[in-house]
């Protein structure tokens, strides 16, 4: 019970400080908006294979804007020795990982709502004709990306070199999620359910389980002493 309270306060602290300072979310949402806008503008001339391209572009926009936020959740702890204070908090590193994971999950979910909405409006692709299916894919893709991004964000924790390095470190690891999520999104757009869709979905589930578990187990090992 105590753990849950402490977990709640760790999540709350990040959300409150973001609400007060507005350091990350505006920049992230703006980047997501602009990228979606530009992608959709170029998509205008494409007639065939639209769904396949949109599937990937949606996830690329989410990935690149989202990694910016994931980098900040740990980088902000570097200022004024916040990280040392957080480590002194009487919880194991796994709980810190879970708290950061939750914050990143919420951040990415907000971004997803904006990006998906913009793609529906701008690109004229029926992304939301099966809202429940799209929601499932979005949630699982979010968990997959966030688990990897949070883990590497905690490892990286560097203000100076910025999020560029983190984006490039995470991409090879997150590539399976991006591939699976875009394939699943394409199948949602093409309204093809069936075994193939379920297979990609189960892959996303497996990936999420593996990396969330890896985060909980390994986080203590990977972060700075």
């Amino acid at each position: 019970m105590l753990m849950v309270t402490q977990f709640y306060w760790m999540v709350r602290k990040d959300l409150v400080s973001e609400y007060r300072a507005r350091q990350v979310w505006p920049a992230m949402l703006m980047l997501g908006t602009l990228v979606s806008f530009l992608f959709s503008a170029q998509l205008d001339g494409v007639v065939e294979g639209r769904s396949r391209i949109v599937g990937m572009l949606v996830w690329l926009a989410i990935y690149f804007a989202g990694i910016l936020a994931m980098h900040r959740t740990f980088a902000m702890e570097q200022e004024d020795d916040c990280w040392d204070a957080l480590r002194l908090y009487p919880v194991t590193a796994s709980w810190i990982y879970l708290a950061k994971f939750t914050v990143n999950f919420l951040t990415l979910a907000t971004l997803q709502v904006v990006v998906l909405g913009l793609f529906v409006v701008f690109s004229n692709v029926p992304l939301l004709d099966h809202p429940l299916r799209m929601l499932t894919v979005a949630l699982l893709g979010n968990v997959g990306l966030t688990s990897v991004g949070t883990l590497l964000g905690g490892v990286w924790t560097e203000n100076r070199q910025g999020s560029t390095m983190l984006a490039f470190l995470t991409l090879p690891l997150a590539a399976p999620v991006l591939l699976a999520a875009s394939e699943a999104t394409r199948l949602v757009i093409d309204q093809e359910g069936g075994p193939l869709w379920w297979r990609w979905l189960s892959f996303l589930v497996v990936f999420s389980i593996v990396f969330v578990t890896a985060g909980i187990v390994l986080f203590e090992l990977l972060i700075e002493d």
Binding site: L152, V155, L169, P172, L173, W200, F203, A214, L222
Partner: protein
């Protein structure tokens, strides 16, 4: 200490054995093994391609395990193992992509297809490369080692998932085609020869990294106890 002391203490006979094996493997692959009927001479690429492909995977496993050992003990010695494996493994992985691409061109008329194994080896190469770039880009040694090791370890966890994901795209990569006994033997000889050869390169690189570390310590010590000539001359 003499100049020769620094030379790698590697058994001469081992070097000769590996050279002999490689020459034999090369001869078998180029001349003795029969020509494959449908693909012709180009099929002979297979012998080196399979060898480096296997070594690329092996190297990644070695790198990942050594990275984990570093993270557990925070001992730079393991990081040196992991770095040597990273460099040699990256070379093997790049050569796999190169030879594979030429094979693809000859066999399927295209330089690249998004076949499961091709995608997997491309991502493997990307992971190798990010680790390699990372090692060079961070100055502070323990920080560099920690981040690189984390990436290598997570990459090792990621790899089965990559294989799983890419399996579901339909594949055209041959798994284990039927071969004549001579071809089989040639392949085996190549794999063994290259494994030994790249292991030697790995050990040599490892020894260099160890020597570098030792020299660094000694240089620092010497700088404290024996200042450079101009300094000592001025100071008397």
């Amino acid at each position: 200490m003499q100049r020769s002391d620094l030379k790698i203490v590697s058994a001469r006979w081992l070097t000769w054995l590996v050279t002999g094996l490689l020459v034999a493997a090369l001869g078998m692959a180029m001349r003795v093994a029969p020509m494959e009927q449908s693909m012709g001479q180009v099929q002979r690429i297979l012998y080196i391609h399979v060898s480096v492909a296997w070594l690329g995977l092996m190297g990644f496993a070695v790198m990942g395990v050594c990275a984990m050992l570093y993270l557990l003990h925070r001992n730079m010695a393991w990081n040196r193992w992991s770095q040597a494996a990273n460099e040699v493994g990256w070379l093997c992985s790049s050569l796999t992509l190169f030879t594979g691409s030429i094979w693809a061109h000859a066999a399927w008329g295209t330089w690249w297809t998004w076949d499961p194994r091709l995608t997997t080896s491309l991502l493997l190469w990307a992971l190798y490369s990010s680790c390699l770039i990372l090692r060079g880009s961070i100055q502070e040694s323990h920080r560099s080692a920690r981040i690189t090791s984390s990436l290598a370890l997570l990459g090792l966890i990621d790899l089965p998932l990559v294989i799983m994901a890419t399996r579901w795209f339909r594949g055209i990569h041959p798994t284990s085609p039927e071969m004549e006994p001579v071809m089989h033997f040639t392949l085996l000889l190549n794999v063994i020869g290259f494994t030994l050869f790249f292991s030697l390169l790995f050990l040599r690189r490892l020894r260099q990294l160890q020597t570098d570390n030792l020299l660094r310590k000694l240089e620092l010590e010497a700088l404290v106890n024996h200042p450079y000539p101009p300094l000592s001359a001025a100071g008397g």
